[in-house]
Structure formats: structure tokens, C-alpha cells
Amino acid sequence: MTVRDERLVDVARASFAIVLALVVVAAALALLGFEPGPALAALARGSLGGTAALTATVLKTTPLLLTGLGVALCFRCGVWNIGAEGQLLVGALCATAVATRLLPDAPAVVLLPAVVLSGALGGFAVAAVAGALRASRGVSEVISTILLNFVAIQLVALAVHGPLQEAAGAYPKSDPFPVAALLPAIGRWHLGIAVAALLAVATEVLLFRTAIGFRMRAVGLAPRAARFAGISPERIGLATLGLGGAFAGLAGAFEVAGVTGQLYEGISPGHGYTAIAVALLAKLHPLAVIPSALFFGALEAGAGAMQREAGVPASVTQVVQGIAILVSATFAVAARRRPGAAAAGAASAAAEEAT
């Protein structure tokens, strides 16, 4: 099969996953006493029906795109980063700290980059903790990144009840961002959207056209064989984890600096977890993360409308995510990537077995 054929199969499989998920959800809704027809119609309207809906979709897509990229990169290198949520939150936290406490009076040309950068660094730092635990103490990053998510949620709570709380002290939220810290925008379409899309392209280039990306892919496919080529799976793992964290942190910064203008609890409705679905549906391919993020973004945007108009709770989106993950990961020749597991690859494996 040529590379093009494989891509087509991936697209077909992703589409099948989406359709199946929607069908199952419609059935579940009917079973639970909701009316699937109006619900799905509300979903479509809320995500694609008109400028406001499209805007909502795009705004929801951006953090999913960024976190999805980070997660896809990590998964590709065999690093199970489930902590995008926490990395996003800490990124938002650091961005808010810089914008409202550390440099609130700086001019935009200084403040904006500082805000964005601190977001990325914040996310990087969280991921680095998990990375350090993995590298030096052998702690599985699956568990550590998840635990850090919970810690991060409380860190944000701590901040908005305390040091970062608004001047009035009435509600647990931060001061609104000074104008200089806000992302330039056209209407509600902020600069972060473009940056995210560009980063997707950049990530694709990184993976497939650079030496580092080459090494990352090598480690993801066969860490032991990569060692013989002088590549250190530990270093690559750390690097990708850090990069994934930075991407998620960036998403957090963009949320506070481009969408909400301030920090409060619950600023992320689980973007970091949805990112996993985004990455898997895209088969860990950076450019494919864009349409995948759009799908889940539309889903979230439409879910709000679905809740308002049809009374269907937004938790439906997680059901769709779960089904999408299962379907896209399963009817996959996902095992294709593992040595000797491909049908054709079994030839060499069998030849060696048949002594």
C-alpha cells in the first residue's frame, strides 16, 4: 500500500468513527427519553449555523488544536502524556500572573510576548515534573501526569482565591487583563487561532523534515533499535514531553488572553482530555489534528446549544469522544507500526521462527 492509500484509509476510518459515535449517541439519547432529532439539529445549529456558531466553533477548536498537537507528538514518541489539562491550566495561571501582577503596566510589545511565553513555560514546567519523575525515578508518566492534573486544578483555585484574586475580592477570579495583554483580534477571532494553525504546520515540518523529528519518529517506533543509532530514547521522551507541555500551556495562555480575558476556576471544560481524542482520531498526524480538532470543537460548541434548546446535557460530548477513540484506535492496523506485527512483516518474523 502506498503512503497515499494509507492516508485514505485513515480518513475513511476516522469518518466511520465519527458517524458511528453520532449514531450511538442518538440511540442512547432516544433510550434515555430525549429526542435525538431536535438534539442533533440543535447541535448542528450551535456549531455551524451562522457566524456566531462558527465563531464559537473556532474558539473551541483552538485550544483543542494546540493541546491535540502536543499530545499527538508525545504519543508518537511512546510518551503517554495524559496531563494536557493540567499543563493548560498552569499555562493559563502563569499567563495571568504575568498579565495582572508581574507586568501589568508594561506596553503591549513587551507584555503580550511575555504573557504568551510564560504560558508556554508554565505548561512546560508541569510536564517537566512528570518527565523528571519518569527519567530519574521510573514513575510511569500515565499516572504522574493525571495526578498533576488534579494538582493543577487546585493550584488555579488557590490562585483565584488568593494572590491572583480580583481587586474587589468578591468573586474567585482574577482581575481582567489589561488591554496590552490581550491578543489582537478581529471581532472574537483572536491571533491565537492563526498561531495554532501555523504550529500545526510547523509540527508537521518538524516531524517529517528535520533531523530531530526523524529521531522522534525512530524512538516512537523502536526505542531499542534507535539506541544503536546513538539516539537516546530518554532524552527524546523528555524533550517531547516538554514540548507537549509547552503547547498545552500555550493553549492556556491563549484562552485567558484571547477568549476570557481573565482567570477563574473551570476555565477549561476538559480540553486536555478531549485532546487525547483529537490526537487519536487524527492518528497522531499533525496536519490531521486540524480537522480532528475542528470536529471536536464543533461538538463542544454545539453541545451548549443542545443543552439550552433540547435539554441534553453537555456530557454527551464525552460519550462521543470515548466512542471515537475506541473506534479509531481499534479498526486500525494500529499494530502496523510495531515491529513484525504487520501481515507482511510476519514474513520475516515467521522466517526467523521457523528454524
Partner: protein
């Protein structure tokens, strides 16, 4: 002090139940990070059944059944279809959050009632002992079940043929297969059993520790259970001790809160996760997992 220890035992029970379930699964060579979602499903189904039938006991049974059902789902994808175990586990977690949220809204339209619970019953003689009585022998059935099962699981793993087979499958699946042990069947059974226990652990939350169901009420306990298995070095005895350790940490946290220490509330909430991370940092490198953990087995490929 007495109250602290009593709380430690009580709080350890759900964790212990879930961890025992995961222990069985991991000794068979499978990693199931969907414990969290399974617990949540058990918590909801147990609660809903208890409310509908006004019987907490029935709720527990329903939770166990729900756990088994989730286990079957996991086993289908992870074993029968060979999907990556971590991915399936994440999917289970997402599905659980979404489905329980959906169902809760559908059934209770936002006004979740209080349900029947299982209360603490002192055991006939042991409960009257001066010091140990209230600490060890005056608890809900969940606690008794948890510790009783711990003994049973420990015994089963080392002294029954089924336990030996399970361990063989988790260490060297190929060798077990060559000896005629049905690897897939053993793993599926382990998964269903483990998930059943996780479901009951969830019921312990909604039918004893609290009297209602709230969305995402498991709050990461399932993931802590994963850490408990590692901390306990994949042995039943170790898991009991580890669960008690976390129970104690939890109890201390509540005690400090109640004493009104001048520490912000979020820090208390962070506490269990930080403790888990710290423990893992010291323990993970030295604990020895079952050799075939996480590796899918397929006979015609090596």
C-alpha cells in the same frame, strides 16, 4: 487518635477494593487505567438502583454488575480486538463521565435525591473490644468485604492453581500458552473480576461514604488505586498496607481541615495527589512489575 485510625480504615476501603481489582488485572498482565471510570459507573448505577428499589444492598449488587459490564467492554477491545490498553482505559474513563452525567440528568433532572446507604455495624464480639473494636470492627460491610477480599485474593494468588495460572499469564504469556493455559480467557476473566470490584468500590462512595451521587465524584481515586498497586509491589499484603497508608493520609487531611488550620482549602484538596506522587517517586523504581504487563499476547506472532 482512635477516631483517626478508625477514619483511616474507613477511607481506605474503597481504595482497597479498587486496588485489589486492579491487582488481579495487572498480575494477569493487563493495565487498566479505566478503573476510575469503572468506579464512577459503579457509583452511579449502585446509587440509581438503590434509589429505585430503596435498598442499598440491591444497589451494591447492581454496582457489581455494572462493573462487570464495563469490564466486558474493556476486555472486548483490549483483548479480543487488541487495541492499546492505555487507549481503551482512557476511552472507558471518558465514556463513564459522559454516560453517568447524561443518565444522571435524564433520571433526576438536576435534583439528585439522597439515597439509602449501608451504615456501620459493629461485629458481634469483636466490635466490643476496648481499643481495636471501634477501629477495626465497627464499619460498613464495604470495609469488611474489602479486607476479607484482600485475604482471599492473597490466598488465591499463591495457593490456588487458578492463581498460579494467572501469574504465569502475567509473567510469560508464551510459556503459559505452551502449557495449555488459555491466556485470553484468563485475562478476560481477570478483567471482568477486577472491574466488578472497582464497581463495588464506586458503590462504597455513593452508598456509604456519601448518600448521593455527584458528577465525577470519584475525583481521581481510581488513579490513586493504580498507584496503590505499584506501591504495594503487586502483592495483596502490600496493597492492603498501601491502601491503609493513603487512608491515613486522607484522614489526617480531614482532621487538619476540621482543626481549622490556617491553610487554604485547595491545599487540602491537593494533598492526596501530592502524597501519591511523592510515594511513587520513592517506590516506583524498585518495585518489580509482572514481566508481561501491558504486552498483548498473540500466539502466531512472537
Amino acid at each position: 487518635m482512635e477516631a483517626l485510625l478508625e477514619a483511616a480504615v474507613r477511607l481506605a476501603a474503597p481504595l482497597l477494593l479498587a486496588a485489589l481489582g486492579e491487582l488481579i488485572v495487572e498480575r494477569a498482565g493487563v493495565v487498566n487505567i479505566g478503573v476510575e471510570g469503572t468506579m464512577l459507573t459503579g457509583a452511579f448505577v449502585g446509587f440509581a438502583a438503590a434509589v429505585a428499589s430503596d435498598s442499598a444492598g440491591l444497589g451494591v449488587a447492581a454496582a457489581a454488575f455494572a462493573g462487570c459490564a464495563v469490564g466486558v467492554l474493556f476486555a472486548f477491545f483490549a483483548i479480543a480486538r487488541g487495541t492499546d490498553q492505555i487507549v481503551v482505559g482512557m476511552a472507558v474513563n471518558l465514556l463513564a463521565v459522559g454516560a453517568t452525567g447524561l443518565a444522571a440528568r435524564a433520571l433526576y433532572a438536576g435534583a439528585t435525591p439522597s439515597g439509602p446507604t449501608l451504615s456501620s455495624e459493629p461485629l458481634p464480639f469483636a466490635g466490643d473490644l476496648p481499643y481495636l473494636g471501634p477501629i477495626l470492627f465497627s464499619h460498613t460491610p464495604f470495609v469488611y468485604a474489602a479486607f476479607g477480599l484482600a485475604i482471599a485474593v492473597g490466598f488465591a494468588l499463591t495457593r490456588t492453581r487458578a492463581g498460579l495460572r494467572l501469574r504465569a499469564v502475567g509473567e510469560v504469556a508464551r510459556a503459559a500458552d505452551a502449557e495449555g493455559v488459555p491466556v485470553a480467557r484468563v485475562r478476560v476473566t481477570a478483567i471482568v473480576l477486577g472491574s466488578c470490584l472497582a464497581g463495588v468500590a464506586g458503590a462504597a462512595l455513593s452508598l456509604a461514604q456519601s448518600d448521593t451521587f455527584t458528577e465525577s465524584m470519584t475525583a481521581g481515586r481510581g488513579f490513586i488505586a493504580l498507584a496503590v498497586v505499584i506501591f504495594g509491589r503487586w502483592s495483596a499484603r502490600g496493597v492492603v498496607l498501601a491502601a491503609l497508608f493513603f487512608g491515613l493520609a486522607n484522614a489526617l487531611q480531614f482532621r487538619a481541615q476540621a482543626q481549622g488550620f490556617e491553610i487554604p482549602y485547595p491545599i487540602f484538596l491537593m494533598f492526596p495527589y501530592l502524597v501519591t506522587l511523592t510515594v511513587l517517586a520513592f517506590v516506583a523504581a524498585r518495585a518489580r512489575a509482572p514481566a508481561d504487563l501491558g504486552t498483548p499476547y498473540n500466539r502466531e506472532r512472537l
